[in-house]
């Protein structure tokens, strides 16, 4: 049991920090919450690639660095504290690459992985999982992939496709077995879809915060060559379950709004100077201390999950629990920030009298999405209940 970092780990953290401070100074990006949604910057990704920070946990034979997930967590922690623009390579690094390593063909490994770790052109991915009738109940997907010679022909509709309008590739889930006697979770396959293929139409959906980050994607007779199918036919769900563990495992779930936390703290420190004896300040002090405790616990849960992976275990229930906890923390953070900063915190960007350029208002509006994306809190609790506590399904 050790809750401190090794010298090498501290050195690595410092290296990442120095790089980010230099980039901030050079004006490559500014620190504002929501970096993951908006920071699509291939040049920045290339700089990270040069340092070996994309695919750093992957085996060396695939262009990775063979480093630990704890080190990766350190990297993610530093990147997200300043909201570095990592969106271009983020999905490829976090889950597409690991999925290809686990389930992909030799061709797919040789073709995609080196491009990912170099942050070459065409690395930006989106996930084509959810459908109008398959949200939490993902096995209900109805998009079909019918085999015609060496091709699969795709028909259907996907939705909530984050970054779909910028993506070069989509990671697609579609039905490949149509026998009603075969269970639904043994009827689907995964494909890598070039988003420029004829028949792919991406339409924006504007979210309640007023931003365009997700989309609906229409697939009309889209032809995918069979070499783009990932893993075995009809085994998509086995593969997705493993992939999701990695999607959920990361520190980013705790730090999407870290700049809000820093602003809140600096505001409260100012309050101490001017309103120390105000009863409101007593309440604020208590509430912020509670948040600080929750933040620390969230951080430990994330490191614990990373460590679990380093032990060679699949972090199914650890990652589910960590994500549920961190999502709820982030919602409380944004709510508390508005309460402490007051009504002016609701004035949005571009309006006079706005606070922090509307960042708090934005984050409050983003909040409901956290407990939904990447598995709702309820789905995550189901996973812990069934997998770890072994409670009965029926």
């Amino acid at each position: 049991m050790r809750f401190t970092f090794t010298k090498e780990q501290e050195k690595f953290r410092q290296e990442v920090r120095d790089f980010l401070q230099a980039e901030l100074k050079a004006g490559t990006f500014v620190t504002k919450s929501g970096g993951l949604a908006e920071g699509n910057n291939q040049e920045f990704s290339k700089k990270m690639a040069q340092r070996g920070w994309i695919g750093m946990t992957w085996p060396k034979e695939y262009g990775g660095q063979g480093r630990t997930y704890v080190e990766k967590a350190i990297l993610i922690e530093e990147l997200f504290k300043v909201q570095a623009p990592v969106a271009y390579h983020f999905l490829a690094d976090r889950q597409i690459g690991p999925a290809i390593i686990h389930f992909g063909s030799e061709w797919q490994k040789e073709y995609f992985l080196p491009r990912f770790v170099r942050a070459d052109d065409n690395v930006k991915f989106c996930l084509l999982f959810s459908e109008p009738n398959a949200g939490s109940d993902l096995v209900n997907v109805s998009t079909s992939a019918k085999k015609e010679g060496e091709y699969y022909v795709i028909r259907g509709q996907k939705v909530w496709t984050s970054g779909g309008h910028q993506a070069d590739y989509g990671w697609l889930l579609a039905r490949t077995c149509f026998d009603p006697n075969v269970p639904r979770h043994e009827s689907c396959s995964q494909f890598i879809l070039d988003m420029r293929t004829p028949g792919v139409t991406v339409r924006p959906i504007i979210n309640m915060a007023g931003y365009h980050t997700f989309n609906e994607v229409f697939l009309e007779d889209v032809r995918i060559h069979q070499k783009y199918m990932v893993g075995k036919e009809n085994e998509a769900f086995k593969q997705i379950m493993a992939q999701m563990d990695y999607e959920r495992a990361g520190m980013e779930r705790l730090l999407q709004n870290y700049p809000v936390y820093e602003k809140l703290l600096s505001h409260v420190r100012q309050m101490k100077e001017t309103r120390k004896n105000d009863p409101f300040y007593y309440w604020v002090k208590d509430a912020v201390a509670q948040l600080e405790i929750e933040f620390n616990i969230g951080r430990l849960l994330c490191y614990y999950t990373a460590w679990t992976i380093d032990q060679g275990r699949r972090p199914t229930s650890e990652a589910a629990m960590a994500k549920a906890y961190c999502n709820l923390y982030e919602q409380r953070l944004n709510d508390l920030a508005t309460k402490v900063l007051g009504p002016a915190s609701l004035i949005r960007e571009g309006t006079p009298w706005t606070l922090y350029n509307g960042e708090i208002a934005d984050c409050y509006l983003w909040s409901p999405s956290y407990t939904l994306q990447g598995g709702s809190v309820e789905i995550l609790k189901n996973i812990v209940a069934l997998r770890r506590l072994e409670l009965p399904r029926r």
Binding site: M1, R2, F3, T4, F5, Q9, V70, L265, V268, R269, K272, K285, D286, V288, A289, Q290, E292, I293, N296, I297, L300, L301, Y303, Y304, A306, W307, T308, Q311, M321, A324, Y325, E378, K381, N382, V384, A385, L386, R388, L389, E390, L391, P392, R393, R394
Partner: protein, 373 residues
């Protein structure tokens, strides 16, 4: 970051788990509530022989030379079983206070018999409200001729006062400050009264009516008693958290097991999603308590100052353990509300732990202080 236990610690953990499972079933815990002594001298002796009473003490005093983290793990196991014993009062509090005061002669005369379990000491550090008041004790002294003192006042929540040979108290000495005294049980004017608290554990009020002590009864330096207690306090808080983590562990398992067995609406209750989510809430409370408490214990064990981490642990565990017992009661239904069931032992334990050393609000204030607020 390293979340696995050392091999020796793992061994201690599994031995302790086995020991308490076998020797301290809930029937034993309940019988000890009726017992005059409130602990089993046989088990106490066995634990001494296993080297557990002297786990973190130097070998020259008869200790086993383990580190503080080992003691934390042992407390977690005692917490699971709610093992009733004077361990906390005698082998931790009194022993650690004696260890902190530099006098080798006193250490040599007291520690070996404490660690062998032959002698039980206790502490009286809490005032009439049950608050630790070592910084400004309501226990007063009067200095007599020939450097002797007369103590007067009341101490509450003195564990195992009925069997203790000595009680260590901090009393205010005029012009000098709070001072740590040994008060032997045969002193005149000393009286203990059982406190019938919600846990029914063996804890007492101690009234000191003109109790005479000498200069040789001062532990450490005159006027420096509060500092001694402060040195031990972070560890005391961490061990309380260990007990809470242990208790929470049992609450989770007790509840999940029952939810698998209890059939309603034609299926196990545990198949209902609302019930599953409650169970996951308890599991989350357990894991989060464990991480934040282990963090504090591990830093303390390495000698790294960590007032913020200790305060975070106590603040979080206090609320979490209590909340877990509340959910567990809701899930158990009527059966959990009976005296016969074991759940209420943990419900009561959680509340008592919450109230000792300050509740979550109190510790959040400390966290805020450490944050510069």
């Amino acid at each position: 970051m390293e979340f696995s236990l050392k091999e020796e610690t793992k061994m201690l953990q599994s031995n302790a788990e086995k020991f308490f499972k076998e020797k301290c079933p809930s029937s034993f815990v309940k019988s000890m509530l009726q017992d005059e002594r409130g602990y089993s001298p046989e088990l106490w002796k066995e634990m001494a022989d296993l080297g557990w009473l002297g786990l973190t003490y130097e070998e020259k005093f008869g200790g086993s030379g383990g580190d503080f983290f080992d003691l934390f793990i042992l407390f977690e196991e005692m917490g699971k079983a709610l093992f009733p014993s004077p361990f906390y009062a005698s082998c931790f509090w009194a022993g650690f206070l004696i260890k902190e005061c530099a006098d080798e002669e006193i250490k040599n005369s007291l520690l070996p018999s404490i660690l062998k379990g032959e002698k039980i000491l206790t502490i009286g550090l809490r005032n009439e409200q049950g608050i630790y008041d070592h910084k400004n004790p309501t226990l007063k002294t009067q200095e007599n001729k020939g450097h002797s003192y007369t103590l007067a006042g009341v101490r509450l929540f003195v564990p195992y006062a009925q069997v203790a040979e000595e009680v260590l108290v901090v009393a205010q000495v005029k012009n000098e400050g709070p001072t740590l005294f040994r008060v032997k049980k045969e002193r005149e004017g000393l009286k203990h009264t059982f406190l019938n608290t919600i846990t029914k554990e063996k804890t007492f009020a101690l009234t000191l009516e003109r109790v005479k002590v000498g200069q040789e009864d001062i532990l450490g330096t005159l006027g420096k008693g509060a500092d001694l207690v402060e040195k031990v306090m972070p560890k005391a808080v961490a061990l309380k958290c260990a007990e809470m983590v242990g208790g929470l562990f049992r609450v989770l398992h007790m509840t999940v097991d029952y939810m698998k067995q209890r059939v309603q609406f034609g299926r196990p209750l545990g198949a209902l999603q609302v019930v599953q989510h409650y169970c996951v809430d308890i599991a989350t409370l357990l894991d989060t308590c464990r991480l934040i408490a282990y963090q504090a214990a591990s830093l303390l064990s390495e000698g790294i100052p960590c007032p913020k981490e200790v305060a975070m642990a106590k603040a979080w565990c206090s609320d979490a353990y209590k909340r877990a017992t509340q959910i567990a009661h809701q899930l158990h239904g009527g059966i959990g509300f009976t005296d016969e069931h074991d759940l209420h032992l943990y419900y009561k334990h959680a509340k008592a732990c919450e109230m000792e050393f300050g509740d979550s609000w109190w510790h959040r204030q400390k966290v805020a202080e450490e944050m510069g607020l």
